[in-house]
Amino acid sequence: MPATIQSFVAQGAQMFFVLAIAPAVTGITRKVKARLMRRRGPSIFQPYRDLLKLVRKDSVLAPNATWFFRSAPYMIFAFTWVAAALVPTLASGLMFNWAADVVALVALIGAARALLALAAMDAGTAFGGIGSSREMMIASLAEPASLLVALTIAFAAGTTRLPEVAQFLIAQPLEIRVSFALAFVALVIVALAENARIPVDNPATHLELTMVHEAMVLEYSGRHLAMIEAAGHLKLTLYISLIICLFLPFGMAPFDGTAGAWAIGIGSYLAKLGLAAVALGVWEVSIAKMRVFRVSEFLGGAFTFAFLAILLEFLSREVQR
């Protein structure tokens, strides 16, 4: 069964490809931010070096930390990695395509987040608790919004499975769709919140009043921290890939495509990923962080946009039928 083997290989290749490329995405963003602030900034490969350094270091554990605190980083990494591998990036029609469902994706990410929130409270420090509670507040708003976005797309494409959605969209003629524009905005807001980026959270600060994500991982060190950092890189790549897959799938190679199609697929994916990383850097430099209390309004906006997207999609379908 060469087809099965081929798809297995392709799926495996994609998993490791995503893992390999994820820190570089973060690296590019950091570099862009630094350049825009007129600093030279670290090389874009610095995140790899950081990860290596952390893996080699001893990890310090709080005396009252339980087994859960120790095992959580691996589980978080695993969940995130699986989720990232499910999103079609280079090509559609991979082995696990049957599982590449938007709802499953949201569930995987949600599980990783729940583990992190629990682990943060395990050490019993105040910061962990604050971080968890804020993270859950954000999640409670971001998750419905992301589900609504998924439903909008599913409503248009007739399926929630990402590869099929991507293929459907590639086949569509280019047209203006307000509902997609709204869903896009909503998903970008959700992605910013989920990845603890500005304006919801600042990944580069350890200020007590404002941290969310950093507060949760404050107690981690050494290889545990490396796992969590890697999961963070993966999550960012995952969200960018998801946005690319849903809104800009052009260039993606079909599974049985020629070598040329695959080359185009890889090239266009890398280009889009790079552009997104640069755009994120520019965005983060040009906007200020919000007060935590305003975050709920910001995410409420995402929810509203996503809901409107569904309503408008519904309307145009009903009207045109």
């Binding site: 047209e175 203006i176 769709r177 307000v178 509902s179 709204l182 709920s296 309004e297 409420g300 906006g301 929810f303 509203t304 946009f305 809901f307 409107l308 309503l311 408008l312 519904f314 309307l315 145009s316 009903e318 009207v319 045109q320």
Partner: protein, 221 residues
Amino acid sequence: MTNAYDVAHFLAGMMLVCSFTLLYQDRILAVLNTFAVQAIMLSLAVAWQGYVRNAPDLFITAAMAFGLKGIIIPVALNRMVEKLGIKRGVDQVVNVGVAMFLGLGLTSLALLLVLKVTPGAASFTREGLALALAIILLGLLQMILRRNAVTQIVGFMSIENGLILAATGARGMPLVVEVSVAFSVLIALFVFAVFLFRIRERFDSVDVESLDKVRAARAHR
């Protein structure tokens, strides 16, 4: 035909998004700018209808919407806000989340209602009416939820935007009616302006809350 529909859908949809932005915004100047964007979207939508249907009289309506509501009124209100030194923030009666939920509920209601009663009408019409009703209801919601007189005016004018969208959606409404609508909006705006100055003169603020005190003082007369 599909393209014609798409553009109309896009413009009307953007008007609806503007309505939500109006509900969301809490700064007066941002509210005025959003309103201007909505009016410009309206004029584009009307002009598009005029072009697609080959109805040149709609261009007059579009031009009026653009000039009057897209430029003159926002600029005038801007001046007024500056001249009166109105505080820039706007108090809401309920928080943004609740307002958004109410807005989404009203929008769903409007869409379902119009789609249900107009199965036979043309797609442009159903679309226009459904979104127009949503915009009207959101404008009413804004008038209810805002305390500030200027934001209430903007709410009223976004209702008028919805009305004109509805009128354009229903094909072949006589021009007379549209002109008169625009005219009456002008009068209404004049009325508002007169009141704003008077309220300001009496209470030193355009917060309608100060009117509530008068009301409370005489609740049982």
